[in-house]
């Protein structure tokens, strides 16, 4: 008989107006990596929050090592050896790694004083065992997102987790970091841990997972072994229809220049130059993709264009009009839309309803308000329309944005920005956290906008997205555009090299310095 470490049997969880989990069963074997796959809003995060004790199921049974348990809060989950790495990290920024990890379970000396040395040694040990390479004394605010995620992993291991739940861990990582995370996961299961992994990236499932449970609209569809299946089958199981992976796209017909950037210099909050004399032009009717390793100035470039950060020098023109260092409102009104990389920080007011969020940039205009008085009827009508069109799955327009699943929050933002049909649409990681069906839809929308004669700036860490969607690829390295290539004349290897700063010219992908 197979030994299961975790069994979730016939779980049902309801929210007002929606059944998030309807009779779902997941069984996790010891030492395996088990994927949870499902469309945005299918109920994956909810199911894992039930396992972690954040939600109480209305029905069903949870067993740990065959014994029935009642997990009423995360502390009990911890005691049972269940740890969770949330998609949105829960770390205290000004604290060090060690301080963050011991927070809430501080080891003490006999005198009652916190024994931080012992903790540090302990953390170092765990970090070395699993190849996490975390510096116990680094401050959270100083380390990269990838590192922060490892701190979260360490935190669960430090508390003795035997089962680790990862909710979309790779959505925030660069390709490099994703590979490293996979190695870490492999070494975790080698040491006898078991892992549940939520991801929308089918390739990742095929690569590291042993089995995969598919959820569709809150219902369990079944569990498959990965050596028995393939990407296409997984996709159709999940969506319930065939999915087209190759974006269909006609040739672009670029027209006049929409965005013109010359010698742009931008500093970050610590006064370090991050954009260092950048030049870029985007024309009406084309999609320009920016490829680059995270931290090479992409975020600062976008914030400078949109007016969220002040530029030091250079020129930014939209339709031949200067927009450099104008207020975000002026920039928006002059015809720029922005799908921000960090949806919780910039994209949404989580405590507002999804309806209210749909007019975040237009609330002060007719018909949404008149003489400063809001017209809720018009606002909700608009919201209903966008929710329909972009397939945002929410119980109602009145639901707080916070209660939507991650992917549906993203779809709402995209709907809002694309619908304003701006002359220049900046899309930063637009499909992060979206399921394959939604990705296909969003790509289609971007291309539609292009064909309407709009200019689109796409920033993405997903190289296949860049190659599939862009008409022109600009490679960004160390604050500058270092190369421009045509998507049909390049491949991921060449892009990877260019992004790492090696000086290959387009078309000579085999020649490196």
């Amino acid at each position: 008989m197979v030994e299961y470490v975790i069994e979730m049997l016939n779980i049902r969880k309801e929210f007002p107006g929606i059944v998030a989990n309807d009779n779902i069963t997941v069984q996790l074997k010891k030492g395996e990596i088990h994927a949870l796959l499902g469309e945005n809003g299918a109920g994956k995060s909810t199911l894992m929050n039930v396992l972690f004790g954040l939600y109480q199921p209305e029905q069903g049974e949870i067993r740990v090592k065959g014994k029935k348990v009642n997990i009423t809060n995360p502390n009990i989950a911890n005691e049972l050896g269940i740890g969770m790495v949330h998609q949105h990290f829960m770390l205290v920024e000004p604290f060090t790694v060690t301080q963050n990890i011991v927070l809430g379970s501080e080891p003490t000396k006999k005198s009652g004083v916190i024994d931080i040395d012992r903790a540090r040694k302990n953390i170092k040990e765990i970090s070395d065992r699993y190849g996490l390479k975390v510096d116990p004394d680094a401050k959270i605010s100083d380390i990269s997102v990838g590192m922060q995620q490892r701190v979260e992993i360490l935190k669960t291991l430090y508390r003795g987790a035997e089962v680790l739940i990862f909710d979309e861990p790779t959505a925030v990582l660069t390709p490099q970091e994703i590979n490293e995370l996979m190695d870490i996961m492999r070494s975790l299961v080698k040491e006898g841990k078991s892992i549940i992994l939520i991801t929308h990236k089918l390739k990742e499932i095929m690569e590291v997972c042993d089995s995969c449970t598919v959820i569709r609209k809150g219902k369990g569809i079944g569990t498959v072994d990965t050596f028995n299946t393939n990407v296409n089958e997984l996709a159709s199981l999940m969506v319930g229809r065939e999915v087209n992976f190759n974006t269909v796209k006609t040739e672009s017909h670029p027209k006049e220049t929409v965005l013109k950037i010359e010698n742009l210099v931008v500093k970050d909050s610590r006064k370090v130059d991050l954009v260092k004399g950048l030049n870029l032009e985007i024309h009406a009717g084309e999609i320009v993709g920016i490829a680059g390793v995270d931290g090479n100035g992409q975020s600062e470039l976008i914030e400078a264009i949109t007016g969220l950060t002040k530029s030091v020098s250079g020129k930014i023109e939209l339709n031949n009009k200067n927009i450099m260092n104008k207020s975000p409102r002026k920039v928006t009104e002059s015809g720029i839309g922005h799908i921000p990389q960090d949806r919780h920080r910039f994209g949404l007011v989580l405590d507002y309803s999804i309806g209210e969020n749909m007019v975040l940039q237009t609330y002060y205009k007719k018909p949404y308000s008149k003489a400063k008085v809001l017209n809720y009827k018009e606002i909700l009508n608009k919201a209903e329309k966008l929710i329909q069109e972009y397939d945002v799955r929410t119980p109602s327009v009145h639901t707080p944005a916070r209660a939507l699943s991650g992917g549906n929050q993203q779809k709402a933002i995209i709907g809002r920005e694309v619908d304003r049909s701006p002359d220049l649409l900046i899309a930063a990681q637009p499909t992060r956290g979206l399921d394959v069906g939604a990705i296909e839809f969003i790509h289609k929308k971007l291309i539609e906008e292009r064909d309407k004669g709009k200019a689109i700036l796409l920033v993405s860490f997903e190289l296949d997205e860049i190659i599939n969607v862009s008409d022109r690829i600009a490679v960004m390295f160390d604050g500058k555009i270092v190369a421009e290539v045509k998507p049909e004349e390049t491949n991921e290897q060449e892009l990877g090299l260019l992004m790492a700063g090696s000086k290959v010219k387009a078309g000579e992908s085999n020649v490196t310095e």
């Binding site: 409102r329 609330y363 639901t399």
Partner: protein, 348 residues
């Protein structure tokens, strides 16, 4: 959603009930009859039209300070400075009342507006310091309270009077007092200010719920970054929120200066209307209607307290304890929520 709404209504009611219950137990333990005590409290607050008038009079400034704190809170700010804003509003109202000679339809509105502007200015300073320099509003508003107290006392002694502790009474042309209201309440001090306070509650509800101003203010309170992204001016909104909150508190001062007393006196300590306003806002769940109801409850408790020593021999301090207990139970609403949820689950 609807469950949440039910809770916002239920939790304060249960808190009040528990506070009263705890007060009864304390009375019992200290050897007083709680039924007599609460009867005296009731009679002291609603016994006849005079006490009713006084209860309304006492509630009037609480409505306004409660609105002030609730408004700031809804937009993510903590206005501890209502106290000082009340004092400067009071001073400004009386000053204009004394300094100007004009017919009532000019004089009275002018005095009221002066109070609002004074409160607004007093709140503008912490607002601008927060917006431009990131200084926390709690610290600055507390300092502003002391500045208001001492500067006002000095102005009363040295500018408005010649080393007296109380100013002359304002002329009838600047007074909110109403012969008619007084005559139907056995000559209590109830005045037209209650209409202003209720109107202010409507204004607060309207601004917060129905206007683009409220939409921006709340948005900035919830998420500064997203608001900036959406093109809102975060600094402007922080200042505006404080200014509106300060206006409400300043008007509370006008209620005292133009309505209840008609004068302003040197104060040995804070009049506490601003601090009580925090409790009113909390009990009223930071909504306009809730604040009005909570203010009446506070007014009634404070007014009725006067009757408890004579009517039942219970010391007035006990009423303060009961109010403190009510606040305690509201503040620990988490526990009440939890218990309610428990009951709901078991009831299923």
């Amino acid at each position: 959603m609807s469950q949440n709404k039910l809770f916002t209504v239920l939790v304060p009611i249960i808190s009040v009930f528990l506070g009263l219950l705890a007060g009864a137990i304390i009375m019992l333990v200290s050897g007083f009859n709680p039924i007599e005590g609460y009867t005296a409290l009731w009679n002291g607050a609603f016994g006849d039209s005079y006490t009713l008038g006084e209860t309304i009079r006492r509630s009037t400034p609480y409505i306004l300070t409660g609105l002030s704190i609730a408004f700031a809170f809804r937009t993510g700010l903590f206005n501890i400075g209502a106290e000082g804003q009340v004092i400067v509003g009071w001073l400004a109202a009386v000053w204009v009342g004394l300094a100007i000679d004009a017919p009532m339809y000019i004089h009275l509105p002018l005095a009221i507006i002066a109070a609002g502007i004074a409160g607004a200015l007093w709140a503008f300073i912490p607002g601008i310091l927060k917006a431009k320099l990131g200084v926390h509003e709690v610290i600055v508003t507390i300092m502003m309270n002391y500045i208001a107290l001492f500067v006002t006392n000095d102005i009363i002694r040295n500018v408005l009077t010649d080393r007296q502790t109380t100013t002359e009474a304002i002329p009838a042309s600047a007074s909110l007092a109403s012969d008619w209201l007084q005559s139907i309440t056995l000559y209590s001090r109830v005045h037209y200010g209650i209409l202003i306070a209720l109107f202010a509650a409507v204004i607060m509800w309207f601004i917060i719920q129905r206007t683009t101003i409220g939409y921006e203010l709340k948005s900035v309170g919830y998420n500064e970054h997203a608001s900036r992204y959406a093109g809102m001016n975060v600094s402007k909104n922080i200042v505006l929120s404080m200014v509106i909150a300060g206006t409400f508190a300043g008007l509370a001062g006008a209620m005292e200066g133009l309505g209840t007393y008609g004068t302003i006196s040197v104060m040995s300590g804070f009049p506490n209307m601003g601090f009580d306003g925090i409790a009113v806002a909390l009990l009223g769940a930071n909504t306009a209607l809730g604040v009005v109801l909570a203010a009446f409850l506070f007014g009634a408790l404070k007014e009725g307290a006067g009757e408890m020593p004579t009517g039942a021999g219970v010391p007035t301090e006990l009423v303060d304890i009961i109010i403190a207990l009510i606040i305690f139970f509201v503040a620990s609403s988490y526990i009440i929520r939890w218990i309610l949820l428990r009951f709901k689950k078991e009831g299923k």
